[in-house]
Symmetry: D2
Subunit: 363 residues, 4 copies
């Protein structure tokens, strides 16, 4: 299934972004991928290190004047060529920069997880509404052709009624000094970082919302990496339709990113399910196993361009702040369950895609 490579729109008509944060994700994944964006262009870099920001600006054909320190963030207000910000900062700074951007009338694309607390997530939704700017959570996996092919198979009835879902997202986090291991900055351990993909993608594929969760937290003694946050979480979810899901996430395993959706008639496997590239989608039926060919354009460009199109056409993004808030609520319930040793009820929601906005183009 070849992708139609339409010619990008001219640079000057694209939505201009300021990128906040020059960590590994930005440098290794985002920036290389964004070269293939068609509706978006980077116009400014914001960092706590001016030299690093200047280097990136020059490497992207910009000038020294397009590099800012965080304390200079408000200078962007005057930049009409910067309509939006892309927040790629530690989780606990998402709220502050969302508020500061909204105050300047800039639209906000925010990396997942949305925040470190339900309260922060609620505030972010609220402030953007009040400021009349758009807020989107950067859930890559709701924008790739492969994930949409999976969802379309389910929606089209190929699997029959869904019965069981299962997902694992684990990796090795072996740097004890990483901010992802600090509770205040990260808001948790592997759950909000990688486990969130299991949660969010299963919600996306089924369109359903869990009404009860039960979780186990694993926090080993004597491992300095896990002094503040958990090493692993395993959890169960029940959905109103009778669908059940088991998920696992860990910071102490071989990289594993898989999901499995099992219906009465067929099953669907994605493995890897959450990787930046080389996603694989397999359908299992009684007659055999089919691995589908789906085009795999750069994922970050797809989500960025969706947000740009929503800005250009004044639409609600497919994954607005409300979508991130719902995940935040479920994660809070999983943590509460693990702490109290009992299942936790969530609001019963039976509407499909209850928190999502307008469909990304092409899906």
């Amino acid at each position: 299934m070849p992708e139609t490579q339409s010619t990008p729109i001219p640079p000057q008509e694209r939505i201009g972004y300021a990128v906040l944060g020059l960590g590994e994700l930005t440098l290794e994944e985002l920036l290389p991928a964004l070269r293939s964006a068609k509706y978006s262009r980077i116009r400014a870099f914001v960092s706590d290190n001016k030299d690093k920001a200047v280097a990136q600006a020059l490497a992207h054909g910009l000038t020294e004047r397009d590099a800012y320190l965080y304390e200079e963030f408000e200078q962007l207000e005057a930049r009409n060529d910067v309509q939006a910000v892309f927040i790629v900062l530690p989780n606990n700074q998402h709220r502050e920069y969302t508020e500061r951007a909204a105050k300047m009338g800039k639209h906000v694309l925010c990396e997942k997880p949305m925040a470190t607390t339900v309260e922060d997530a609620e505030a972010m939704v609220s402030v953007c509404h009040q400021a009349g700017v758009k807020l989107m959570i950067a859930y890559r996996c709701q924008y790739t052709p492969t994930h949409w092919a999976a969802r379309d198979l389910i929606d089209g009835g190929e699997l029959g009624p869904l019965k069981l879902m299962q997902s694992i997202n684990g990796q090795m986090q072996d740097d004890p000094s990483a901010w992802r291991l600090k509770l205040e900055q990260a808001g948790g351990g592997p759950l909000p970082d990688v486990g969130l993909y299991c949660l969010n993608t299963l919600r996306f594929l089924s369109g359903e919302e869990p009404h009860e969760v039960f979780g186990y937290l694993y926090k080993p003694d004597g491992d300095s990496r896990f002094a503040e946050v958990e090493e692993a979480v395993s959890w169960l979810m029940r959905f109103p339709s009778g669908l059940e899901a088991t998920c696992m996430t860990s910071y102490s395993t071989l990289t594993t990113r898989q999901l499995y959706v099992l219906g009465e008639k067929a099953a669907l496997e994605m493995n890897p399910a959450f990787a930046y590239e080389n996603l694989e989608l397999t359908v299992k039926r009684e007659r055999g196993v089919e691995k589908l060919s789906v085009s795999q354009p750069d994922q970050f460009a797809l989500e960025l361009d969706h947000f740009s199109q929503c800005i250009l056409e004044d639409k609600v993004p497919f994954t607005p702040g409300e979508e991130g808030l719902q995940d935040q609520r479920i994660m809070a319930a999983i943590y509460k369950s693990a702490q109290e040793g009992r299942p936790i009820q969530l609001e019963q929601i039976t509407k499909k895609d209850a928190f999502r906005g307008s469909r990304p183009q092409g899906h």
Copy 2:
């Protein structure tokens, strides 16, 4: 890894079995597979249908006199060429026929699940001890070269410390009249039937025993198949080492038999993990994914021959009654958890392979 095809020992030196029950499992799987047994031979058939038993006797080169009705079971006492019985009856009859066989001094190979209650399982262990006969639960998956290759990889440290395990065993049960859907006969729904494979095989692979479980039961309204037993169970298990497991089983899905064991350095996937043939074992490492070639002799012949060898050499079977009893206790805890909506504690057991006997030959 080619299997050495040793010449079978002469028929007259082999352990003679009476097969109890001529259901689908016996006819479609057991009897064809047993043709490749090397230490075992079938000497008698016991059924509630004399014609059916006679037909099988003749097809196996035996005579009409080798066919018995259940009420004639005790006539086998006089048959010196029948040293053991293989019980392939509905679950709630396992105890009765174990007791009757033990009374005759016959060794007992009993299909899984061992029983429908913990009490029955305990009684079976006890009666066989007292009678001085051997009792083995027919856990196929503890006897195949593929499962042993998986266990050896784990034991050899190839995966690093184990962290997460996950398994699904689901299939479609669409005959509402099946005895497997009757609570009294089956002792439960998919959990004791197919979910037991997840539980038992994860215990075998890790050698560990869970100390806490939490389960969700799904029983849909208005589906006559699930008037007595559940449609699906999802459960979590925690192990003393910090290892966690999620499992799912269902009677309303495409056939799915998979397991996944994830360590710090590598992971191991079996898919199918519990099928009668064509098992696949894959090791996932950072450098790539390796599918191993392991010889796949007939599984039923392997377990039967192990029991015969234990009788010939007077050894404790690798999966004695105690092994089945432990599964029975864990399943009872899962049901209890689901009914009471809370996690259930189990006895803390830290000894490896706590309930297993002598290793099967060749492993």
Copy 3:
């Protein structure tokens, strides 16, 4: 696709076979597999070693009197319970024992390759015709459900018009004393032994006959294994429809048994294509790759039972002597091409399945 496990017909109604030759193939593959035969039973063993024959007779529930030396072969004439012979001898003995069996009125199932020369193959066809006995060449791969599923996909138009075919069958032959390395006994090296599978199975799948071949022979200096026969052969074949095929066979490689059939719309891969078990059939289409689930009963039992059914119902076997003769002619042309350094023409045959008899039951 589950196989229907019909109850075998009673032993006394089955076709009785005398097995000639107790080499590795007989002991490791044939005899274990034949336990699942439903229309056939073994009644006698013929060998150059009486002890070996007796041991097998006893292991199969027969008596000492069912073991014969080759010079006693004609004693089988009086055995009414032996209607057929299965010749599993070195290739150059196939003709002699076919002639001796035909003279006794016994039907002949002969291992492939049929013979070591075209002349011998012609004589075998002729003598069986004159004696009114059936002759079948034991081409396993024309009797498995997996190969028939592949053929049915082609016949059903799933691939569109066939364009290219490719096959490799290679393995390591490292015993310099093996009879397979003696030109007189084997009639050639890997070509008649394993390369024949490529040739025969591509002919079966397409139903077409090549009209021209070109081959390269590789015979290394100084390797005592290849003093008489070739190490490897690579050859091209052209078919009247425009279809082309490339094949390779070798005695100096990792075991490799694969074939690939490529059409306008789709392709079909079998890998392994010629193994005794765990055959894999994959269909490749633009939308993705599908691995089919096909039941895999014992292959040797299938071919043996087909021959028994042909005897019971007086039909021409699907792979009669003429089928083997055609392969013999093509192999002779490949050798001639390699020796003369030029392509060799074969008779133009446009009829589909030109040399095959009645379809095996169930296909």
Copy 4:
């Protein structure tokens, strides 16, 4: 195996290219891929359609003045920021534009096949030598980490001595008006277009040169697409070490791009082997099958950057004109063999990598 994402060198230090030809390959593959180049930048577009060239210039942040017609090509001589040209024109124009570029002192990166005749290829090598400019043939598959991983496995002895190689590259060409179907422009049908990948990649992986070839050409009657060029070619190659290879290429099949290299101890499969992305490399050993994880950066960027580095460091490219010339000679021999119905001898070359230059960085 993660790729180190080094920061690209600043735009003004990179080698500037003029791209000649705005066909599908340029628009769909080259230009999107080149966004990730680190040592190269596009400075000009040359086309027969000024509007198309201007549109691309603007889309790449250049101006109208960076768009040229072919007749304006020599205006590039004055552009010091354009040190090289990338020729992506119909095959029969490669020579002319190479000569014109060399005359201006511009280095030449030329798409494969190098030319439509051996004479043209020889002239191209010669003119670039005389002009003191570098000439490189754009053989993508000699620059990817996946192909180098395959070559390293072979070089490292993992497969043992190489014995057999096999490759297919086929696709559907259904536009009868395509220049690729015109003999004068293309120089042949699928052989120089896609079959060349089989030839070139097998030469690269083994490092060896064939000394004899035999080929079959297929040209159907009555198909207007194949009035001038062949539909398919199958060919055999023999190498001095005893290695043999079979290859097939076609313009009438499902897209198929595979290769297989078989040694004494192990085998290596690439499938797809020649695709622009998602290459798969599998090693087959007796103990099982291993699919390797190899990073997959943009292929076009890799080859372009290699040429830029050779210019910056004054080195001979890994695939200089001589490498393309050798393929041209072998293809001419294959065509000659098919026309004359006999094998064709080639010069005996035993030196490894006989025609290649300096290794690409990182390999």
